[in-house]
Symmetry: C2
Subunit: 319 residues, 2 copies
Amino acid sequence: MYIGVDLGGTNISIGIVDNSGKIKFINTISTNSGQKSKNIIDSIINLINNTIKHSSIVKEDINSIGIGIPGIINQETGKIIECINLPLHDVPLAELVKKEVEIPVFIDNDATLAGLAEYEIGVMKNSTTSVLMTIGTGIGGGIIIDGKLQAGYNGIGSEIGHMIVGQNYYDCNCGRNGCLETFASARALVNYTKKLIKQGNIETSLHKMFSGETDRIDGKMIFEQAVKGDELANKAVNRMVKFLSIGIMNLISVIDPQVIALGGGISNAGDFFLEKVRTEVNNLKYFKTMPIGKIMIAKLGNEVGIIGAAMLGKYWLSK
Amino acid sequence: MYIGVDLGGTNISIGIVDNSGKIKFINTISTNSGQKSKNIIDSIINLINNTIKHSSIVKEDINSIGIGIPGIINQETGKIIECINLPLHDVPLAELVKKEVEIPVFIDNDATLAGLAEYEIGVMKNSTTSVLMTIGTGIGGGIIIDGKLQAGYNGIGSEIGHMIVGQNYYDCNCGRNGCLETFASARALVNYTKKLIKQGNIETSLHKMFSGETDRIDGKMIFEQAVKGDELANKAVNRMVKFLSIGIMNLISVIDPQVIALGGGISNAGDFFLEKVRTEVNNLKYFKTMPIGKIMIAKLGNEVGIIGAAMLGKYWLSK
């Protein structure tokens, strides 16, 4: 058995996962991200201890604990280097947790772990080179080459949402302009839709739905209206697809994966979205017969973070 | 001993290289790229046979032949898939050459092989993850991860000159707009300098040098005038540096190399250029303490193609 912890800005989720990636027990608490570093670390430790205590599994049967971090980490030292949305800077998390729970602890970036989960039991299984793009508020990446997690030399690799792909009308949270995630994330889709509604040149059912209160618009609604043929929603979706396809083609030009999996909230947009992306990437081929990898919707849904974190221990203990 | 063949649009160069990467014998003939596929293949075979015949090395001491191709190849089958500047499409080159010379033959992309050479005996030596960017007429790439050449699943990886990084005022040879090489190659530098001269808003010594005959301007001259403080030349160089740095930072965001080596014609621009690139990449960090790999000028100069091709046989025979 393996424990997987998915640390997010809103919630901390934990699961006990078996050797085949099946979740046997699951629990979630609030992160209280306004807290200090120490409180967040204590929450993680208490959650792990309580989970072991209240589950039917004896501690000796837990091989390892993996923790997914929404930030940049050092695989070797188990330290969190930087976390944009949580007050965790230069924190030796693996060591701190291990000291308290006395089970081997491994940490990695959450998108990288989602990639590991899709590689172990999802759509990237048995691929030699594959990339998971998690498309939600931002865009994260998990790259696996020859069965190896690719975090890069300094632990800052796989940050594919920060590839610069053009000039945009607003800056990225990272302080720069033109990052892929400012064009092609779910948040970017919502931002651009609101901008179009504000401009008021195109009639849209989205405007009527909320009598102009655009704050309640989310990615799901935009896709729903786009499928129904709404002109404005389609314009926004097509811009997102255009830049996401540039991002995918850039990954193809650099690492040429066998599988490119699209995960995160966007995976709910289904075939309507997938077909648009496949068509656009095809249009971006730079010679007609160019062979490219498969573009697929990721398989594992919301629990991918827990599964990937749990698989991390299995991954390292088998090395 | 290993034979390395560097097939270019203008010349075919061949070298006999020892185990440590030292060139023992070298020869060059014209490619006659206007010829048919068969004639180019025959030229390669004759050059290899003549080289062995006229060198002091007996054929039995040649372990292998490596051939660098300016195009997209399949490592496993030894086939050329596509070659933009030569009439070599879907050619089983390794097989054809091997049949005639009776020595094991391996082929790979020329930029990938330049990366291999820098990894074996140049600035990328002993690195876990490294990238060579060859910056000349276009921009090519050679990526080595954990000692392995990364050509990608379909043999189309490492084409880093075709990352889309913005919108440009002219299209790429590949038919698309915004490719890195249309902003940051030596040709892009020359194109943009000519554009600035034509606009005529900035005084420049480059204009005086040629009395307006801008066709004779090349990258070397632009760098020379930039070093001397010429405003227009500096404007053009700074634009090139800006986009090259975006390209480098995109590679960092995806594969986070330990070493990024800058090769090709641009390596002659030396410290003036290197310092500008390092400063600009630093400005593109998305958090202040972000650790990034070393950016260095490649070491091996013009013969990198022959050395890399020769090392290819050593690389595969040791697998």
